[in-house]
Amino acid sequence: MSSLCLQRLQEERKKWRKDHPYGFFAKPTKKVDGSMNLQKWEAGIPGRDGTLWKNGLYPLTIEYPDDYPSKPPKVKFPAGFYHPNVYPSGTICLSILNEDQDWRPAITLKQLLLGVQDLLDSPNPNSPAQEPAWRAFSKNIKEYEKKVSDQALRYTK
């Protein structure tokens, strides 16, 4: 791991502990020997109140590559997560997570997680990543709403 990556991740952790949005959590995972693995984090994003996603706390894994922050981290929901912009593998299709698009080394963990929270209730139908959720969202909004609410129940806080 490059020192550049490590230094920044320690700072990200410090900043997060000092201040983070309400209802969110994010922490580095533990290695087998019990030490902290700063390159792999677990996080949770609460669904916003007043949306279909409310009451849910959606789990995420965040993996930082060695050349972070030049390259963006990989942010994933569990496989099979129901959302038009989430691939069947759980990978999120979001421009700020794509190094060819809007990723900037200055983007912080907080901005990133807020971006994902935003995406939950405002999917982008122009870049679908999985068929079932996209199809329901654009053709059968009732079914979509039901599936999303069911999922919210499964991930209740």
Partner: protein, 501 residues
């Protein structure tokens, strides 16, 4: 050998072989109606040549800068800004100019070229006791690069960041916002011009992809030369006549300008391309590419689909198409169901590899292997000539018949090799196909006998049969021409076509 000037080959069914017929009207087969003259030691149909020049990367750099300068005079922007915009547009000058004249503000915004006014100019400055907002390291003394937008980072971060964005076709931006970093900035950050040049060189890949009609990389590993040709009418004419637009770079690497592969005469590009894909079928790696990717319908880049909907956007040429039917995306309305898939061509063709294919493949490989051995032989020719000079007092120029012979030998092998590809796609019941086989045997014999002569080691024996070298070489040449003519006729008459396998 007798001169073949002004003779034409004509196929006669009675004796099943090529005759030399004086003044026949063979040329009526060609759309141009021009008389085709066959000359000794020259490929058939050589009277049309592709005009081209070979460039090194540095020369290409100058060429590209000239084009940049040309566009720049129209837009009146700085060279650095121009390069950023051209990279953003994948070097599509026309599209950029068109969009720019329509709405310059929008294009500048997209290119990250709108610099906030009344701000401190961008640049490096030295700081003490500085904490970099990107790497979060504390420095006692450090250079910091700051943009007009106010965003800044330490020089180490910028160097790492620019190195990692090196391969991107787009110009790099500020670490926090959209403001573009110019070549001048890169030079300042690295303290030399090497890096921005590297950035440019890597962007040439996109440039050449965009202008692939006129520019081609030399396909030889590690060569890096570029061939430029804007002689499109000749190129099209050559392809129409099933001829191979052969070019050679400054390092004397010969290749086909149209399909960027080895010179595959007498196969035409279409058949050679299909064959190369087939041959690659044999190796698992490329098998994977064939099975899991498809070529972009617009630029031919291999594309793998690993998820998502049918809406594909080629990273190389930026065109958008449908994964199912290869058609333009703009006509589609549904991301997952393609209404046009029935219009897709049947691909049952690949199902069985016929015996003809296997036989042709075997012969192809046999001659390819012999070709490799001959190439090794060619490596020893210079020393052979040197021995001749030393032991027998022969002048260098007199010894050149040996290098001439090996050149002809290699050419013969290549033509023979690719003629088997033609054979595979020929209608086996047609008479002309039998004649092709006879011509192949004759060239094969001629090549083998020349090869035997070249393998002679004793200098005295070599000089003794110098005349035989000449004879054997001319024989090979003559057979090459006959075989090439035969193949061309098969192609023109449609006896040899892809659909027949």
């Amino acid at each position: 050998m007798t001169s073949l000037d002004d003779y034409n080959f004509e196929f006669s069914e009675d004796d099943e072989c090529y005759q030399l017929v004086d003044g026949s009207d063979y040329e009526s087969d060609y759309s141009t109606g021009k008389e085709l003259i066959i000359e000794e030691n020259v490929h058939a149909n050589d009277e049309i040549h592709l005009r081209y020049k070979s460039l090194s990367t540095d020369e290409l750099y100058d060429d590209v800068m000239e084009r940049v300068e040309f566009v720049r005079t129209i837009t009146q922007l700085s060279t650095d800004s121009m390069i950023i915009l051209l990279r953003l547009y994948g070097w599509n000058e026309e599209m950029l100019l068109e969009n720019y004249t329509e709405n310059p503000e929008e294009i500048l915004e997209k290119g990250g070229l709108i610099v906030p006014e009344h701000c401190e100019k961008r640049g490096l400055r030295d700081e003490q006791n500085y904490t970099c907002p990107i790497c979060c390291d504390d420095y006692e003394f450090i250079s910091v690069f700051r943009m007009e937008c106010g965003h800044e980072a330490c020089i180490n971060c910028y160097r790492t960041y620019l190195t990692s964005t090196l391969k991107k076709p787009k110009a790099p931006t500020c670490m926090s916002c959209n403001l573009s970093i110019t070549s001048g900035d890169i030079d300042q950050i690295f303290g030399n011009t090497e890096f921005s040049k590297k950035h440019m060189f890597l962007s040439f890949e996109t440039f050449i992809n965009k202008h692939s009609k006129n520019y081609k990389w030399c396909p030889y590993t590690g060569c890096g030369n570029i061939i430029y040709s804007n002689n499109e009418s000749t190129l099209n004419e050559m392809l129409k006549r099933h001829m191979i637009p052969e070019v050679a770079c400054n390092n004397k690497h010969a290749f086909c300008f149209h399909c960027s592969t080895e010179v595959h005469s007498p196969s035409d590009c279409k058949i050679a391309q299909y064959w190369i894909d087939k041959v690659r079928d044999e190796s698992t790696n490329l098998n994977w590419i064939l099975n899991n990717t498809k070529p972009c319908p617009f630029c031919g880049t291999s594309i793998e689909k690993n998820g998502g909907c049918n809406h594909m956007a080629c990273q190389s040429c930026q065109s958008e198409f449908c994964w199912i039917c290869d058609g333009k995306w703009s006509i589609h309305t549904d991301n997952y169901v393609c209404k046009f898939q029935n219009e897709k061509k049947d691909s049952t063709m690949n199902k069985s590899i016929s015996k003809r294919f296997t036989d042709g493949y075997k012969m192809f490989i046999v001659h390819e292997n012999s070709s490799d051995l001959d190439l090794k032989l060619a490596g020893t020719i210079e020393s052979k000539i040197f021995t001749l000079q030393k032991e027998l007092g022969i002048s260098w120029i007199e010894g050149q018949f040996l290098s001439e012979s090996i050149k002809i030998l290699l050419h013969g092998r290549s033509v023979l090799k690719w003629s088997y590809v033609i054979g595979v796609f020929c209608d086996p019941s047609h008479n002309l196909t039998h004649i092709l086989e006879q011509n192949q045997t004759m060239l094969s014999n001629a090549v083998e006998s020349l090869s035997l002569k070249i393998q002679i080691k004793d200098p005295k024996a070599i000089i003794k049969c110098k005349a035989e070298f000449h004879d054997a070489s001319s024989l090979v040449n003559g057979r090459i021409i006959a075989l090439e003519r035969c193949c061309q006729e098969l192609l023109i008459k449609g006896i040899c076509k892809l659909e027949s396998i």
